[in-house]
Symmetry: C2
Subunit: 174 residues, 2 copies
């Protein structure tokens, strides 16, 4: 049983107390308060790219040129960042983004939760936020490419591998 | 052996005669002349959506609202249409598009060749065009979701299913 488990759904359906939407439309933030701990979600694609690099470093992802990351975020349909908030201190602890045609399809990339915060249900909360935002934009076909080790993480969230024999494929230069 | 087979690669590497790039930058067109038959490629996302619907109808795809198709094309990173040109008459015979973050990833959608023109190597020419355009934009991760029946079509083009166990996954509402 996880501390955060099911939190997000509950916050939405049960009590407005647990879910505080901040009014800063420019940053499009959403705060989830749980037992005094405050987790913040932001849809602002202009986040500190060095902080994002640190997060990706922490899970062992290879470095990518900052200017390309900036471009990728700018051209992503959805960018969700997850922050631990303590007083004025804010720490980036999770991230996910999606490309899309803004109409039918979205593909989710770069899902990550900082190792210090893994296994607490926060990856699930983050992904539920991503799915909810995409559905709110009327995207019906939500897709992703899952590393072998995380297939069942996504299955728990309602993702199916190879439905009707559809195969994810990657092109390699010859 | 196909009439068109290998044409595109040959046209690029062997002879400028076979490949005529028209100067209409606004429409970003490219013509491939083969034995008097002229096949035209366009990157213009503003194509006749009813003609596109007809093409998709011809392969049995379900209809989609025109306004959403328009939005999807507008927000696709790459839109490639393939036309048969005879004098002033032009017929849409193939189509493909890709979403992207403009930096790392692209995902190819809606690849189609009209049944009258299938099995002539044109699907391959179309896909090679798509790959070439994405590579020219410095996209390193070219992906797609292949229906079961066309996996080997894409394999011939250099796509690998489930590389290193990576799984394509789709989300379904619960
Ligand atoms: C994958 C990742 C985002 C999961 O985040 P997390 O916060 O640890 O996950 P949660 O605690 O929310 O887990 C939710 C559920 O998935 C399960 N789960 C989490 N990670 C899993 C994994 N790797 N494999 C299988 N199940 C997993 C949990 O047990 C939990 O199950 P429950 O609901 O039955 O209790 C995180 O481990 C991570 O960032 N990993 C490194 C980067 C990465 O691999 N990203 C994905 C690339 S495709
Ligand atoms: C799939 C499709 C785009 C292929 O176009 P095409 O013009 O018929 O394909 P080509 O003639 O260029 O074929 C190129 C090669 O792939 C092979 N091929 C073509 N279709 C194939 C299929 N369905 N399965 C396996 N191999 C196939 C050809 O035999 C040829 O092989 P070769 O190079 O060894 O001669 C076309 O059949 C189509 O539009 N189908 C309906 C829509 C569809 O299914 N789209 C894909 C959705 S994921």
């Amino acid at each position: 049983m996880s501390f955060w488990k099911g939190l997000f759904g509950a916050a939405e359906t049960v009590s407005a107390k647990e879910l505080t939407r901040t009014a800063k439309a420019s940053h499009r933030q959403e705060a989830v308060a749980v037992k005094g701990e405050s987790i913040l979600f932001s849809l602002d694609p202009d986040l500190d790219l060095y902080e994002l690099e640190e997060l990706c470093d922490a899970v062992g992802w290879s470095r990518r040129p900052i200017h390309k990351v900036k471009k990728a975020l700018h051209h992503s349909f959805l960018v969700v960042s997850m922050w631990q908030q303590r007083g004025n201190y804010r720490r980036l602890i999770g991230f996910a983004r999606a490309t899309s045609d803004h109409a039918f399809n979205a593909t989710i990339w770069d899902v990550v939760v900082h190792p210090d915060f893994q296994g607490k249900g926060l990856g699930k909360v983050l992904m539920e936020k991503v799915i909810r935002e995409l559905r709110a934009q009327d995207i019906s076909n939500i897709t992703l490419f899952a590393d072998q080790g995380v297939v069942s993480f996504y299955e728990r969230l309602g993702f199916t591998p190879d439905p009707e024999g559809i195969k994810g494929m990657f092109w390699y230069p010859r």
